[in-house]
Structure formats: C-alpha cells, structure tokens
C-alpha cells in the first residue's frame, strides 16, 4: 500500500478505523478536532458506517463511548486536554468499570497554549486513573498505537489513553497502513456486575485495578514502543518521552552525541528498564513534552538525586513546549541562532473576521451599557470561542474566559452578589456544550441577568463543525423555563443597530432571566456553503 500523508490526528483516526473501531465520540477542540473530521470523510469509515457524529460535550462523548464498549465493540472518545476535565467523572470511573470492547480515550494536549487556556499534561490523568497511557512520537506511531492500544484495552478490560500534543496532531508525514481488522461482534458483558459501581462493587473494582498495576508495568517493560538506544558516552543518559524523543534524536544526530537514549512511549513507566538505564549513566537528562511527570517520579518528593536534570532543576523552562534549540542548549551545544527579530515586525494577533456577526453584537452591547455604567467600567462575563476575541481592541467588550459554559454561571454568581447589570455572552455551540445547566440554575434561582447567546450556527473557532443543539436554541430555553417573551432573537447587522440596542435595554431592565439570541451565520461557513452551492449548480 502507498504511504498516506497524514496529520498525527488523521493517522490516529485511520488507525482506529483500520483496527476495527465501530464508533468515535467527540466534541471539537484544538488540537483534537481533525480526528473526528477525518473519520467523517474517511471512505472506510463511511463504508462501515462507523458512528461519527459530534457529541454535546466531552462528558457525553466519553459516556457514549463507554456504552459502545459495553456492547463489545471497539470505540474511541477524543477531546482536547481541557475537555478531559469536563469528562473527568466518566473517565475516572471508566477505569473501574473497565472496557468490554476496546476503548481508547484520545486526548490532545496543547503545550505552549497555542489555542487553549492552560497546558495541563493528560498523562497525569492516566496515572491518576491508573490506566495505561500511550504517547506516540510520530505519525506512524499514532497509527500503529491504535492497534496496540485496542489489544491492551481488551486484554486488561481497561480504557487506554492515547496522548497527543499540538505539534504531532497538526504535523503531516508519511504513514504506512496495515490490513484492516474486522469490527468486533456485538457481545454484551457476561458479568452482570461489571458496569455497576454501587460501593460494594466499586471497592472490589478498585482492589482489582490495584492488583493489575504490576502487570501494566510489565507491559510497558516489554512494549514495542519503549526502547533503549545504546551509546558510548555514558557520562549522560537521556530519557525522552513521546514527541520529545524527536527533538533528542534531531539534536544528538546533528552534534554527533553518543549518549544512550531511553525512549518512553507507554506508561505506567517501565521501572526496571529505567533503573538499569540509570545504573549505566552518570547523569540523567529527562526530556518530556508537557509537565515533568517522569522527572518528578524519578526524583521523588525529596529531590536528593542531583543526577537528574530536566524541567525541575531549571535545565529546561518549567513551561512551554520543547523544541530542538532547547534540547541542544540542555546538551551544552551552542545552538546556531539566526539573527534577531527585526524591530519593525509587529504582532499580528488573531481577530474577528471582516463581516463577523459578533462584531455587530458587541457594538450593540457596548452601546447599551453606556446607559448603565461609565465607559471603561463594563463588566461582561464571557466564554470560549471566536467571540473571546471580543476582549481585544477595538471592542474591549468582555472581561472573562474561564471554561466552557462559565459565562452564565459566573454572571449568576456576580448577580447573586448584587452586580447589575449581570450579562453573560456565550456562543451557540458552547451553550449546548455546558451552558444549559447554568441557565437552569438561573431559572431555579430567578436570577436577574441577561444571557446573550451568539448564534453563528456553527462551532466557529475550531473551523465550523455542526453541533447538537442547532436549530433548537429557543426550544431549549423555553424547555428550561425561560419565559417566551424574554427570549429575543435579533439579527446582528449594522442596519438593525438601534433596534438591537433597544431590545438589549428592555431585557436588561426586566428583572429576571432574559435570553437574547443574535442570529447570523458565521462568514467562514457561509462562504464555504456558497462556494459548494455554486459548484453544485455548475454541475
């Protein structure tokens, strides 16, 4: 078979399909989005009719995947790192109930926060849940590891985490496919207690999970993805995990360093392997992408062992992603730095697109607030999406971005403290992800606030995916208990400016829960839709 040129995300998706996966469950989030997008277009996935529609959020996605695993089928849930926080409850407990059909939990981290609120390292979650974690270092491993992870998952009846990072998720290279495996037959669990976490069962499950830990470590000792590369110069040994292994290889080849290298791509860490490796080397450099998980484990709580260098002793910065220059510097190599950045170059931050409906919404909001607070004293709670860019000049329209859905609940808390006007700005997809329960809190509490659901009819920031609540926003709000006359749908266009300001004013003045829905399609998805239409007409 010819090699395919695939992003890390796509290689992993193709791997899942070829390894017999029957369903993928996900909510979009950079850098994980392209996994599901690939499945939605992959001919083999379409032919097998693999489940491939988006879920409302990461929690529902993981639960749906556990349900598919229950039936004996292979499944995958995917999300970005902070999405795993949303899914933490089913994720942690899925380690107890385990897996029937293989379950891979794919999590894509974002070191250096290219498109995220933090750079948490998901390997800690895998360790926390006491399940195996696999960390590919290249696109081929992304593909191959899905086969391995499914086998491991079914052998131990445990979910297995596959951890990616931005640089691998969004980097393309050649991938060699294998023969496709058939899907699993439907086979319901024989043990009626398996998926039942009443405390008496849960205690037993936990003991079992503890008991198999040495077996999982043994798997890592023998994993085809963990290995030692001998080197003549044992004054230093390099332990490199996942993606960081690439930078180590790049630099050691370049500078002809002959240090032994231990590559770790499967966890729990292979203790015997590491012990033997460390015995043969004078000093140890730990290079890992993300937070210092391996380094902390090697050092322990009392960092007496000064042989170990990494992020904790300042050899590397504590934060930010790795790169070849950082690794070369850690090895004492003078890196060839190019010339400095010319002073004339200025920053070019991302911005709302020309013609974006959010611009009109923010203009109206800024204007109406003039009659309530002094200019520059606005406090508006917001959320995660393209509209977070409304924080930047010239809009300066919002003040907060905490996590998905937090605009509504933070505004509620502030209203409860007496803030008036209390305003939440949230996107349509974000609202369906985790804004609905917050709205229910407001209804229950009869909170005096205005929730503005910016409806651009897509999940915009991640590139325009559809979402579960599309076309149902008013029905959802009515269902949750918002009074019909206080659900105001407006069209954010400059010609409607005065009218929209007036409507916002009326709803701010209403003492209760109001929902204003500025509705106009995202200019990006609209352009794409129009182009597709034109193409179709041409045919």
């Amino acid at each position: 078979m010819k090699k395919l040129m695939l992003l890390g995300d796509e290689a992993l998706a193709q791997g899942a399909v070829d390894a017999g996966c029957s369903g993928v469950f996900a909510y979009p989030g950079t850098p994980s989005t392209e996994i599901m997008e690939y499945i939605q277009k992959c001919p083999e996935a379409l032919q097998r009719n693999i489940h491939r529609t988006w879920s409302s959020n990461e929690k529902t996605a993981v639960e749906e995947a556990v349900g598919m695993s229950y039936t004996g089928k292979r499944t995958m849930s995917c999300m970005k790192h902070v999405g795993l926080n949303v899914a933490a409850d089913p994720f942690m407990n899925s380690a107890f109930v385990g897996a029937n059909g293989g379950h891979i939990v794919t999590v894509a981290d974002d070191p250096s926060m290219h498109s995220s609120q933090n750079e948490q390292d998901s390997r800690f979650y895998a360790k926390f849940a006491m399940i195996p974690c696999m960390e590919p270092s290249n696109q081929q491993e992304c593909y191959d590891m899905t086969f391995h992870a499914y086998e491991l998952s079914e052998k131990y009846h445990l979910p297995v985490m596959l951890r990616l990072e931005t640089r691998l998720s969004h980097s393309r290279s050649g991938v060699q496919r294998r023969d496709m495996l058939p899907e699993n037959e439907l086979k319901l669990p024989e043990d009626r207690n398996q998926f039942m976490l009443l405390p008496a069962f849960a205690r037993r499950k936990y003991k079992h999970l503890i008991e198999i830990q040495p077996d999982l470590t043994e798997e890592s000792e023998n994993s085809p993805f963990n290995w030692v590369e001998e080197g003549k110069d044992t004054s230093l040994g390099i332990i490199a995990s996942g993606l960081a292994y690439n930078y180590v290889k790049e630099v050691t080849i370049r500078y002809n360093c002959e240090y032994p290298i231990l590559k770790i791509s499967q966890y729990p860490i292979p203790v015997k392997m590491i012990e033997k490796f460390m015995d043969n080397c004078d000093k140890i450099l730990v290079v890992e992408e993300g937070q210092p998980l391996v380094e902390e484990m090697l050092k322990g709580a009392i960092p007496k062992d000064s042989r170990i260098m990494g992020r904790l002793d300042g050899t590397f910065t504590r934060d930010g992603e790795m790169d070849p220059n950082k690794v070369a510097a850690a090895l004492g190599k003078e890196t060839r730095t190019g010339e400095s950045l010319p002073e004339i170059v200025t920053g070019r931050p991302p911005a709302l697109c020309v013609g974006c409906p959010h611009i009109d919404s923010y203009k109206a909001l800024n204007d109406v607030l003039k009659s309530y607070v002094e200019d520059g004293q606005r406090h508006v709670f917001s959320d995660i999406g393209c509209y977070t860019l409304g924080f930047l000049p010239p809009y300066n329209a919002i003040n907060t971005c905490l996590d998905m859905g937090a605009s509504i609940t933070m505004a509620k808390g502030a209203a409860n403290a007496g803030l008036f006007p209390a305003i939440a700005v949230i996107g349509d997809s974000t609202f369906c992800h985790s804004g609905m329960t917050g709205l229910l809190d407001c209804i229950y509490d009869k909170t005096n606030l205005v929730i503005i659901i910016l409806d651009n009819s897509t999940t915009g920031m991640t590139g325009g995916q559809d979402y579960t609540g599309f076309g149902r926003l008013e029905a959802i709000c009515i269902g949750l208990g918002v009074e019909k006359e206080h659900i105001r749908v407006v069209t954010p266009l400059s010609r409607n400016f005065e009218e929209n300001v007036q409507i916002l004013k009326e709803e701010i003045d209403y003492k209760g829960v109001s929902v204003v829905i500025p509705r106009r399609e995202c200019v990006q998805t609209m352009t794409r839709r129009m182009r597709a239409l034109k193409k179709q007409e041409a045919k």
């Binding site: 992003l7 498109s115 950045l341 004339i344 991302p350």
Partner: protein, 193 residues
C-alpha cells in the same frame, strides 16, 4: 539532501496549499517529509506559519531549529521577517511584497523593504500584481511557489505534476492557470540573477 522551509503568511492566504504542493512533489521524488501546520485560533487573521522539512534521510523533529532554515517562503512581507531568527546564514528569503494590512500599527513599507534588502539571499516580488496580470488574483500563492522552485532541490516538472494532482478535481482550467502562475513566478526568479 535536506531542506528546511518555513512558509509564512496570514491566516487564509493559502500557505497550506503551497505546503501541500511541495509535499506532493517531494513524495513523488521519493523524499521524506514532515510538515507542521497551525490550526485553531491563529487562523483568524493572525500570523500563521508552517515548518516544512524535506530530506532523503529520516526526519525526526517536526520543528525547524533557529538558524537552520534554508528558505523562508512568505506570501506577506512583514510575515517573512518574523521568521528571520530561523534563517540560516546561507538561507533564502523569498517573499511577496504586497502587505496584508489588518492591524492598525502596520509598519512603513519602506522600512520593511530595507530590512528585506539587508538579507543577502532574497527575492522580493509583487506576486499579487503578477497573479492579477495573469487574470487570477487567487493564484498569488502559486506565483510565490514558482519563484521558490528555483531554490528547491526538486525538479520543476514535479511541481507541475503536483499542481495537476492537487487542483485536478477543480477542472483543467484551474490547473492550467496555476501552471501559468508557477511559470510566471519562476520567470521572475530566473530574471533576477
């Protein structure tokens, strides 16, 4: 053979198409490649870049080290300069001269050009104008690629084949237009010397 290339521009200017074509041409020549892209928030009108590495040996790092880059190929002049710290002393900076002004404090064009001229190996061309003259403003990125082909260790013919593969499903007219754009860019680079 190894070439490390940084493609630069502003979100939406078509650098990923350039990357796809170079990648396709590299593959047809049996070379290895890795190409790191930027997705997500920055694509909304922010600066975007792609690290493209081609080699006849195994490639490990997805990222190019500072001071190692053999070519900066940029569809926007200020964005070309943003990656100057990556450029090797022997490297080429090939950039479009038409600015993309979506920020209030965009620098003076003269200053930018002065900076570009200060780099020993540079090619500065008005790819927007060349593409417009050909009757397809959208082929600006392919004009830029055409200029770059002079310094890429891949036969010119392979780029034409790659255009055929990548634009083939859009119809032969589009393919032909892009082949013309490629040639126009190449002509500029050839005549520069």
């Amino acid at each position: 053979m190894k070439q490390d290339i940084i493609l630069a521009g502003v979100g939406g200017q078509g650098i990923l198409t350039i990357a796809a074509i170079i990648g396709q041409a590299a593959l047809d020549n049996g070379l290895n490649m890795k190409q790191a892209e930027v997705h997500g928030m920055s694509q909304r009108g922010g600066d975007v870049q792609s690290h493209l590495r081609i080699s006849d040996k195994a490639i490990y790092s997805d990222l190019i080290a500072k001071g190692d880059c053999d070519m900066i190929l940029s569809v926007e002049p200020m964005e070309a300069l943003r990656y100057k710290p990556y450029l090797a002393q022997t490297g080429w900076l090939i950039t479009n001269s038409t600015p993309f002004m979506n920020i209030p404090n965009y620098p003076e064009q003269d200053g930018l050009e002065k900076e570009i001229y200060s780099i020993k190996n540079h090619v500065l061309l008005n790819a927007d104008q060349i593409a417009k003259d050909l009757g397809s403003a959208r082929a600006m990125n392919i004009v830029m690629l055409g200029a770059a082909t002079k310094y890429l260790n891949i036969p010119y013919k392979s780029f034409e084949i790659a255009l055929q593969i990548i634009f083939g499903r859009k119809g032969q007219n589009i393919v032909d237009m892009n082949i013309k754009a490629l040639a126009a860019g190449r002509k500029f680079a050839d005549e520069k010397l």
